[in-house]
Structures are given as structure tokens and as C-alpha cells.
């Protein structure tokens, strides 16, 4: 098992390398560099000086290597606009996005997995139809529009919750939560709906397997058949879905943070793109991609823990 984990972790490296290459190339082919964003009312000398200062006059591969080695040292460079170290901004922004995604994930998983199981076990009954319809709506509703509807209902019409702004968790837990609950729900709904649907179909498939018939033939009550024999097998595809959806969660966070004006990483990326502050864009996207890759690797490792066929060395 330990060997497998090491292997999985090592396999992250080429992917990370490619991610950095793709990202660097994308930024490289952008029309104009950062100096271009300074505007037309600055002197040519200043632009020249600016370029030298930020190493923009060096060849691409040198800049790539500089960028990567600095990142490995924990130095993400400085913002072109503010001149401040990016790492400081990450430290402020990252917790917001992390709280948002974690919150929506927890809400989603706590609701979705039981709902999916209920739906599968009570197939073709009212609870199944209700869950399926809700899940379908959840999958199809654009998260940011759901956020808008929530604002319209809970903030504008009912006046229960503030529509925007952010209060740090350390400042006031209740204030923080009243501002985070709507974004988390808006972001988590699609996630939850997808996991519900996946849970349902994974369960239905598992309930069709031979070993379920065996379990029934042993005289086990329905409850044991489902919660012991079916659940652990069905969890394998469910965990995969959760892993894949996490990536989407970060993408969704970009839009949700804009809707609710939360100062997270997503909004920072959008702003930086608009301002052409490329070092910030690259650093932030790299961090998000890194997290997604780590989560996917974790999912692989969890698979091994659920399924003994993966964790133990194969025998012929």
C-alpha cells in the first residue's frame, strides 16, 4: 500500500509540470506583456525600466525556470499593479474560498449520499421521484443564477440575510455564517445533485450484483444487505464523482464569489485577468490546479482503502 501511495504521489509531478507549462504558455502568448497594461501615458524609458525590473526582457525558458524555482521556494512573485508580494494576498484570499468550498461540500455530501441511497432503495416510489426531480433541477440550474434567486428571495424580498460582503470567521462566527450560507448553498446545489444522481445509479448497479443475491440468500435482513454489502461497493464510484466534482467546485466559486462579492481567490483571478496582472493570475491558477490534483490523488488513495482489490498487490 505504501508503495502505491508513493507511486500515486510521484505521478502528480508530470501532471503538475504540464499544468505549469500550459499555464505559462497561455500567459506567454497573450497579446502584450504586463508593461502594456501600464497605459499609454507612461514614457518609453519607464516601460523599459519596468520590463527589466520584472525580468520581462529575458527569454521565455529562463522566465519559466525562474518562475517555477521561485514557486518551489514559496515565492510567488509580486503583483504588477500593487507591487506587493502575491503570497500575502493568497494568505488573505485563500481561506475565504476554502471555507466556501468546504462548506458547500459538507452540506452537499451530508444531504446527497443519504438521498441517493433512499432513492435507489425505494426505487419507483414517491421519495425516489421527488429526489430524482430535485436532483435534476439541481443539476440543471446555473449556480450563479440560483445565487441571484436566493438574493432576490432572502435578501431583497424577505430581508433575512445580507446579500454580500464578508466577515472573517475569527471576527464573528454567526456573522460569517449568515454571509456564507447562501453562497455555500448556491455553490453546493449542483455538487449535491450530481452526487445524489451518482449515488442512486451506483447503488442500483451494486444491488444488481451476484454478491447481493448471495447476501440475501444467507438470510440477511434488507438493512444489512444495503448498509454493509452494497454501501461499501457503491462508495467506489461515488468517491470518484466527489473527486471530479471538486474541481468544478473551484470553477463555480469564481462565479459565486462575484455574485456575493466575496473576497476569495476566484474573484481575485477574474479581477487580475481584467487588470492583466499576469503574475497574480498564474500564481492563483497554479494553486487551484495544485489543489485539484492533490484532491484527485487523495481520491485514488481512498479508493485503495475502500477496495482491497486495488490496495493489495495483484495476484494472478
Amino acid at each position: 500500500m505504501a508503495k502505491k501511495i508513493v507511486r500515486k504521489v510521484l505521478l502528480m509531478l508530470p501532471v503538475l509540470f504540464l499544468v505549469s507549462i500550459i499555464l505559462f504558455t497561455l500567459m506567454e502568448v497573450l497579446p502584450g506583456d504586463a508593461a502594456y497594461g501600464l497605459g499609454s501615458d507612461v514614457s518609453d524609458e519607464y516601460i523599459q525600466q519596468f520590463r527589466e525590473e520584472h525580468g520581462l526582457d529575458k527569454p521565455a525558458y529562463v522566465r519559466y525556470l525562474d518562475w517555477v524555482t521561485n514557486m518551489l521556494k514559496g515565492d510567488f512573485g509580486v503583483s504588477l499593479i500593487s507591487g506587493l508580494p502575491i503570497i500575502d494576498r493568497i494568505k488573505v484570499r485563500f481561506p475565504v474560498t476554502l471555507e466556501l468550498t468546504l462548506l458547500s461540500m459538507i452540506v452537499a455530501v451530508v444531504i446527497a449520499i443519504p438521498a441517493g441511497i433512499l432513492s435507489a432503495v425505494k426505487r419507483n416510489t414517491l421519495p425516489d421521484y421527488l429526489t430524482s426531480v430535485l436532483a435534476m433541477v439541481g443539476v440543471t440550474i446555473p449556480p450563479f443564477w440560483l445565487g441571484m434567486l436566493m438574493v432576490l428571495l432572502f435578501s431583497i424580498t424577505l430581508g433575512w440575510l445580507p446579500a454580500s460582503g464578508y466577515v472573517e470567521l475569527t471576527e464573528s462566527v454567526s456573522e460569517n455564517l449568515t454571509r456564507m450560507i447562501m453562497p455555500a448553498l448556491a455553490l453546493g446545489t449542483q455538487f449535491a445533485a450530481t452526487v445524489t444522481r451518482q449515488t442512486r445509479s451506483a447503488f442500483l448497479e451494486t444491488l444488481d450484483q451476484d454478491y447481493i443475491v448471495t447476501a440475501k440468500a444467507k438470510g440477511l435482513p434488507q438493512r444489512v444487505v444495503i448498509w454493509k454489502h452494497a454501501l461499501r461497493n457503491a462508495l467506489i464510484p461515488i468517491v470518484t464523482t466527489i473527486g471530479m466534482q471538486t474541481g468544478r467546485l473551484f470553477g463555480g466559486a469564481v462565479v459565486i464569489e462575484t455574485v456575493f462579492t466575496l473576497p476569495g481567490i476566484g474573484r481575485e483571478i477574474v479581477n487580475s485577468i481584467l487588470l492583466r496582472d499576469y503574475p497574480v493570475v498564474m500564481a492563483l491558477i497554479m494553486i487551484v490546479a495544485f489543489i485539484v490534483i492533490v484532491i484527485n490523488t487523495l481520491i485514488d488513495i481512498i479508493h485503495g482503502l475502500i477496495d482491497p482489490r486495488i490496495s493489495q498487490s495483484q495476484q494472478r
Binding site: K3, V6, R7, L10, Q315, R316
Partner: protein
Amino acid sequence: MDDLIQVSGLKKYYPITSGVLKRVTGHYKAVDDVSFSIGYGQTFGLVGESGCGKTTVGKSILRLIEPTDGQILLEGKDLRAMNSAQLRSARKDMQIIFQDPYSSLNPRMTVMELISEPMKLHNLASGSELQDRVCNLLETVGLSRIEMKKYPHEFSGGQRQRIMIARALSVQPKIIVCDEPVSALDVSIQAQILNLMKELQQNLGIAYLFIAHGMPVVKHISHQVGVMYLGKLVEVADSESIFSNCLHPYTQALMSAVPIPDPDVKRKTMIIKGEVPNLAEKQEGCLFAGRCSRCTARCREEAPILREVESGHQVACHCV
């Protein structure tokens, strides 16, 4: 030059990897030094239990699996030395039919397309001649020409196997490799297909390499039988003597395991004890030694080679 196919020293090794970097640490010997030959219009039966490498032998002969080593001569021509164009034209002479009639026919092609495809590919016929040939082939395998427009899923397992045979016959091959062609069929259908195959052999003079795990079926259809155990041929003999006078302890165990459809015959089943050795590890001596009742010290040290003990009867065992 009296043999249609001559296989000598055929080997197929799969690398075994381990560790974080997947280094090759050994070889899994799926087929290890197998030699036999098949005469024109003859059937060579290959029996053995699952994982013994019999299917790998069949596919290697057609180079559907690239062998690691060995020589395969088709009418004296070395198949392994051929380039892809030569091989393509040589494939006209060799065909294959499979066990599972449900996965062996492309579900998106009609019977007409399925049977005419090989002929079109080798430019054997076109236009109305092609149509006529397909009709004839369908008749030969006992289907009617009305079926031509249908798709495989509209047929039962036995009928699909007939379509497969018609497809194989379409290029007038000299040999057909039959990989467990009747194992998935019901008893009554199995008899129909076996009879059809025998008839075709008598009328067209095709040779078969017949691969199966069931002794009675192999014995019924084959002229010669080869018994495989863990990638090696342990005994080769004509089908009558393999039943009446089998010499290798493994063959004897295999024969004694065949149930006899007569309640009055009480056979003595030889139960093979012991574990199948792990082919991924390096093996010394005879592979059957650990499970053999007649095992001697020599068996554990020296691997027996296949040698002729009687005319046309080869055995790989020190004790014979």
C-alpha cells in the same frame, strides 16, 4: 513439406513489473517453448485448463499476439519474418473463430457485410458474384439467404457461430483456429456446430486448430490432441491413444476428471492436490512436480522435455 503448419519453440513472455518505477523484474511465461505441427485437412486439438496458454498459442499462430520467440511456418513460409503486407495476404489462408458468439461479430454490420468483408478486402469477388458467394456460404453453414439483411443481435448463439464460420470460410482458408467455439453453446446446439465443422472438413479439406477445455469435445473432433499445462505442451498423441493410453500424470488426472454420462460407470477421480505454481516466479524442474504423485528428485531439478515415446506419441515426463 507434408505439414500445413509447423510451430517450433513458440514462446510468449509477459514482463512483470514492480516497484514505484515499474521496473521489469521477471517474466510471466504464458507460452513456453511449444512445438507441434498440423497436416492438411487435419484437426489438432489443444486442451488444458484456464490460464494454461492455449488461447495465446492460437492467437500467436495468427500473429494476433506477437510471439516473443519461435518459428511459425505456414506451408514452409515463415510467418514471423513477414512484413505487414505479406502477412495481410497470408491471413487469407488462416482464419479464427471465437468462443463467445455475442462479442465476436461486429453488432453494427449486417450478415451480408460481415461475410462479404473478407472477400472484398482480399479482392476475391465483387458485385453480383460477391452476392452469390455470400448466398452459397450461408447455405453451406445452414442459414437461409433471407437472413442476409439482418444484424447479429437478431440471431441466437448457435446461428451467430454459423455466421462466424461462414465469414471464416469466405476466403477459403487452409486452416481455421477455433478458440473454444462450442463452449458457450447448449448441448443440442453444440452437436449441430460440431457436425457442421466435421462436414466442412470432409468437403473442403480445411485443417483446424481446435482449442477447448472439455476433453470429450476435443476428442470427438480431433485427429491429434495436445495437452497443455502452464504454458507447456505435456503430451501430444492421436486422439484415440490420448484416451486409451495417456501417459503424462497431468493428462491422466485430466482424463479422470471427465464425468462419464453413465450412472453405472463408477470412475475413480484422481484429485490433484497442491497449489498451482506461480508462473511469475522462477520455476525449477517440472511445473507439475509439486502436484504429481509420481514426483521424484529429478523432477524437482530438471524440467522434462517433450520426447517421442511411441510412434506419434510425445510426452514430457521423466517417469514415462
